[in-house]
Amino acid sequence: MTHGAPLPLLETRELSVGIGGKSVCRGLDLRLQAGQCLGILGQNGVGKTTLLHTLAGLRPAESGSILLRGAPLEQLSRRRVAQQVGLLMQEHEDPFPALVLETALVGRHPHIEFWQWESASDIRVARAALDAVDLSELETRSVNTLSGGERQRLGLATVITQDPDVFLLDEPTNHLDLQHEIDLLRMLVRFAREGGKGVAMTLHDINLAARFCDRLLLMFGDGETLLGATADILTADNLHRLFGVPVAAVQWDGGTVYVPQ
């Protein structure tokens, strides 16, 4: 086995997921290799979040298996999974608001033994993550004083501090202004290409997905999905079926822009 393709960071085999009697995906075979950026598109309520939570091991699948570097996820401890998979959630709860740096630092939890405290190097990792999302100056602020976009970037800094192989990101561009949105997606692509990470994220903007993702998973509802290279999969037919409105592909400045009609 010296010349085979490297083991995917994350792989699903015949994965079926359902929630509340509704099917999210059926028989999904997905491979996320190091260096890849996967976009997940679909209407509200088709189960994008449910799928991400399942891939993170936070809820059981109906059938099929999820492998992390070839190891079945359900056989790994929660801690081992958290060392390899990071999840950015849509909602952040702060009933007891901590400081910005403390909040980023919780990302180190799976890497620290239970009797240890965060070391100077853990704090360096958290500071670098805050710097990466442009929050360095707010380090000593309480999280309940942040704006929606700042809180979202802090959530991302926590996942970066966690330093997983696989980034599962649920609408990472939520609440972000244009500049931070583009900066952040560029950074994620760089994590994948240069850092050997795998990124899977749900997005609502077809143009961002077309520009930053090499592969796309379209979720049509009722368990129907379509997976493929971005260029192959962004057809007018697929997009119409996906969003329920016709989407025109307009050639502009040497690229393609998708506009709902």
């Binding site: 060392q83 901590a98 939890h109």
Partner: protein, 325 residues
């Protein structure tokens, strides 16, 4: 918001505990000098001071410390379990169950030991009832647990009112004292101190996990915390701590709600500091309150629960006001 470093934080709490002990042992119907109290504690003193300090005042001060520590620790754990800053040790009905059984023992004219046993049995009954009722199909959420606990507590409250209405004039006064919290019958709290030590020993290894659980179950799961066992462990430990506090001293309010918040205002939300800090501050607060309760209107004794609120309310409002600036 300024954060106090670990050494001055724990240092000043330990000084506070030591001071409250010395004052509690020195102050009373027969005042003793602090020097004599300390000498007596270390084997000196005369026969009289040994009787007053070691046999009369020390057991009661230790009982106050244990009760305050138990309640403050239980409150901090309950607030994480329910992800709710308004949670206190009694919110899930533990004290209500204890009160109904304890008041029952008082109405039947039974003695102190039976009242304590009744309180403990009632606390455990209520704990199991809420756990089973909230669980339902597919496990509980904090909201479901909270609602079940609050409703069960309201049910106990109605039974308590009924018992007060039906109680004889003779037993009413001791029933009211029990409900407000009272340490005047306290004995050496070996069991309470053991439960307190056990509780902090069980909770501390999970203190960092609690920091993450406080940010929600999904976040905790995503960061590698085994959420379900931790939730159940929190529930069991917090209930046990509350049950043994209520058994010793009745339903003393306020300490369990406010002490964790006072500490958060001073030192932040890290449970590795919050939990031991809560034990120390809760203990010191209750010793001080009990010293005042037995000496302000001496020989008349006040219910200590009334005094904790009288000290705690302005102290808490001050800290809250300071934190906003």
């Amino acid at each position: 918001m300024p954060r106090v470093a670990a050494l001055p934080f724990f240092g000043s709490l330990l000084v506070l505990v030591a001071l409250s002990f010395v004052v509690a042992l020195a102050w009373g119907s027969v005042p003793l000098s602090p020097r004599l109290v300390i000498a007596t504690l270390f084997g000196g003193g005369d026969e009289f001071s040994r009787t007053v300090v070691l046999e009369l005042r020390l057991p009661r001060a230790l009982a106050a410390f244990a009760t305050g520590g138990l309640l403050a620790l239980a409150g901090a754990l309950m607030q994480v379990l329910l992800r709710n800053p308004l949670a206190d040790p009694y919110i899930l009905g533990v004290s209500g169950g204890a009160a109904v059984f304890a008041l029952g023992a008082i109405m039947l004219g039974l003695g102190g030991l039976w009242i304590g046993a009744g309180a403990f049995a009632g606390a455990l009954t209520s704990t199991f009832a809420v756990f089973a009722l909230a669980h339902g199909r597919g496990g509980w959420t904090p909201t479901r647990l909270l609602l079940t606990g609050v409703v069960v507590a309201a049910g106990w409250g109605a039974v308590i009112s009924l018992m007060l209405a039906l109680g004889s004039d003779g037993s009413l006064r001791s029933m009211l004292f029990w409900l407000m919290g009272d340490l005047s019958h306290a004995t050496l709290p070996t069991g309470g101190l053991a439960v307190l030590a056990l509780g902090i020993a069980l909770a501390m290894p999970f203190a960092r996990s609690l920091n993450i659980l406080a940010r929600g179950e999904l976040q905790a799961g995503a960061l590698g915390v085994a959420v379900r066992p931790l939730n159940i462990g929190l529930y069991v430990v917090a209930s046990l701590l509350t049950a043994s506090a209520v058994t010793m001293a009745g339903a003393i309010g306020f300490v369990g709600l406010v002490v964790p918040h006072m500490l958060r205002l001073v030192t932040g939300t890290d449970h590795r500091r919050l939990l031991p800090g809560a034990v120390l501050l809760g203990g010191a607060l209750l010793i001080t309150a009990d010293t005042l309760a037995r000496s302000v209107l001496a020989p008349q004794q006040l219910p200590v629960g009334v005094v904790t609120a009288l000290i705690g309310v302005p102290l808490f409002l001050y800290l809250l006001h300071r934190a906003r600036q």
